[in-house]
Subunit: 352 residues, 2 copies
């Protein structure tokens, strides 16, 4: 029994240690695995939940979802960025769930057509022989990944797709072929040079057929300072993005912005680009707490206006209402305090 | 015995679960606690180690250290950002250890003088009654935190101090009073209005006494688009930063940059500011792998030039040398491959 006792003590200690260790880590996400029948493989997905997601003092809320390509490269700063930008009282964006998608066969998944190329460095090597699978990959996201996310997490019916390079190409292809799939699309330095600029032709075709882009959708395109790149084989990168810009800017129905980033190269443009893109996509979301003291009705007006603009319902979050109520209380705005207590009771009737 | 057996099985399962759980998390840092005799309190410190820190396939290396104030607000995106910017082959910065310092008494620690103020909203409340402790806080960092970091982690003798608002005030105060403490200082929208612009006077005093700023030190100051702020009680924010800029720009010895961020407010400027600041501080660090094929000697030349500029020794990391060697090998640059194998053997003799 003595040995058993030692063993049990040891295991208890080990559990205790493991728990202590977990508490001592700064965790920005969790890994999930989704088996895709469409792609016939397991896909690793990294999930970031907002700070208030598991806060027991508030009612369970739903959150917009950002689908982030090249998860293994972008997830960590991106997750931190969404928390930083959604901090009350001056949140530029709502709190979001971030779904980072890790690559398996990047070229296969992110390119819209099969297009091979001899390596400019070694002509014996054929590049992109497995290209052309993006329609399948969109199908995976729409029919397998999104249902998984909505089943497992409290996801709002508002989503953003974010990609870079081939991922940007994929975002624009998805926008052209399935514009209803996401509310907003972000394409950082997209590889629109792909396959003799096949997406430029597709964009023209789209507009010929549909006359205009769907309303209430956003597209943000960043362009790197590719002076260095010009010397390389993909020098038509810049030219293709410019061409796309000219076509889209002529069509005013889309909430579109193109931004050139001076001093950023193809490999770095995503970091500032993703930040500016989120501020663009959620433009109008930010409200000014100080204005509500004398005009409390403004809060709901502004959320209604923003919801109309983006074509999806956004309501003030319970944590934000708590911050507003606290502000009114501590500054002696009695009437406004009562007003916002009523708003809170209306929006979150089962207040804990 | 049956119950004992069940219990043991259960605990084993729990350990197994805890381990599995830890593997399933995206972890960007670990929490440490340092007891400060100087401040007479425990301080929570968040540590981010670079991706290669525990890579057993390379020799243990040392890394520059970034001390980040307001750790609880900035740590997560900042940690991800340093990994993003230091990715080979086109790394803009070296891999870094990030040390996030969590606040206890923020005003006490970050303000250089005791200066009270009546609240503009409620005159019965006195603000900043515990201000004036920044000299003590610098002492804590220099005499307690840095030795702790150097004892526990492989820290290079190169460090950066990063702060925002009162933290920016603290960074500039530390630069003026202990310029030798850090190699580079980053001040995001610093509260130079503090105590009738006491740091403006201190800057003038410093230059009167020392004639010029120390060489090989960097200071990056960001300024938010504080139009909104102008309406508030700290409207002298902008004016004080402008005044500081004028004084410092007249003195050419400092590697100084001031940047105004259009559209960024006081609360958001740190995100783009910290990115631009790191690119400024490590300007010249980035090398172009393609140029080394025909001119392999360039690598060491460029590292020597960068080291001279910043006054600290930087050498090509082993992972970067591995990337270079692989590039030379796969593109058939035999001579350069041998050259870089020799560089690697020289710099990392105990190659595994």
């Amino acid at each position: 029994m003595n040995n058993w006792f030692k063993f049990v003590c040891f295991t208890l200690l080990a559990i205790f240690n493991a728990k202590i260790n977990a508490q001592d880590k700064i965790i920005v996400g969790e890994k999930e695995s989704v088996f895709s029948k469409i792609l016939n493989e397991n896909r690793e997905i990294w999930i970031h939940l907002p700070k208030t997601y598991n806060d027991n003092s508030i009612n369970p809320a739903k959150y917009p979802v950002i689908y982030l390509l090249d998860g293994e490269i972008n997830f960590e700063y991106y997750a931190g960025m969404t928390d930083f930008l959604s901090k009350p009282p001056y949140a530029d964006i709502p709190e979001c769930i971030v779904v980072g998608i890790k690559n398996t066969e990047r070229t296969r998944d992110l390119t819209p057509t099969k297009s091979q190329k001899k390596s400019p460095v070694n002509p014996n090597i054929t590049l992109f022989s497995d290209s052309g699978g993006s329609e399948n990959f969109t199908k995976f996201i729409q029919e397998e990944l999104k249902p998984f996310i909505h089943k497992k997490y409290r996801a709002q019916d508002y989503s953003v797709l974010v990609g870079h390079s081939f991922g940007g190409l994929f975002a624009i292809h998805t926008f052209l072929t399935h514009p209803e799939a996401f509310n907003a699309y972000v394409a950082n330095d997209p590889s629109l040079w792909w396959d003799n600029k096949v997406l430029i032709s597709k964009t023209k075709d789209y507009l010929e057929k549909n006359k205009k882009f769907p309303a209430k959708k956003s597209l943000y395109v960043t362009q790197a300072d590719n002076e260095e790149q010009q010397k390389n084989w993909d020098s038509d990168m810049t030219q293709a993005i410019d061409e796309f810009r000219t076509i889209v800017e002529k069509n005013g129905t889309l909430n579109y912005k193109h931004r050139f980033f001076e001093g950023e190269v193809h490999g770095t443009v995503s970091y500032p680009g993703n930040y500016e893109a989120l501020k663009f996509v959620f433009k109008g979301f930010r409200t000014n707490i100080k204005e509500f003291a004398k005009n409390p009705g403004l809060l709901e007006e502004e959320y209604k206006r923003f919801s109309d603009t983006v074509g999806a319902e956004f309501i003030p979050s319970e944590p934000y209402l708590n911050v507003i109520i606290k502000f009114m209380k501590s500054n002696g705005f009695k009437e406004s305090e009562t007003y916002f207590m009523n708003v809170k009771n209306k929006l979150y009737p089962k207040t804990k």
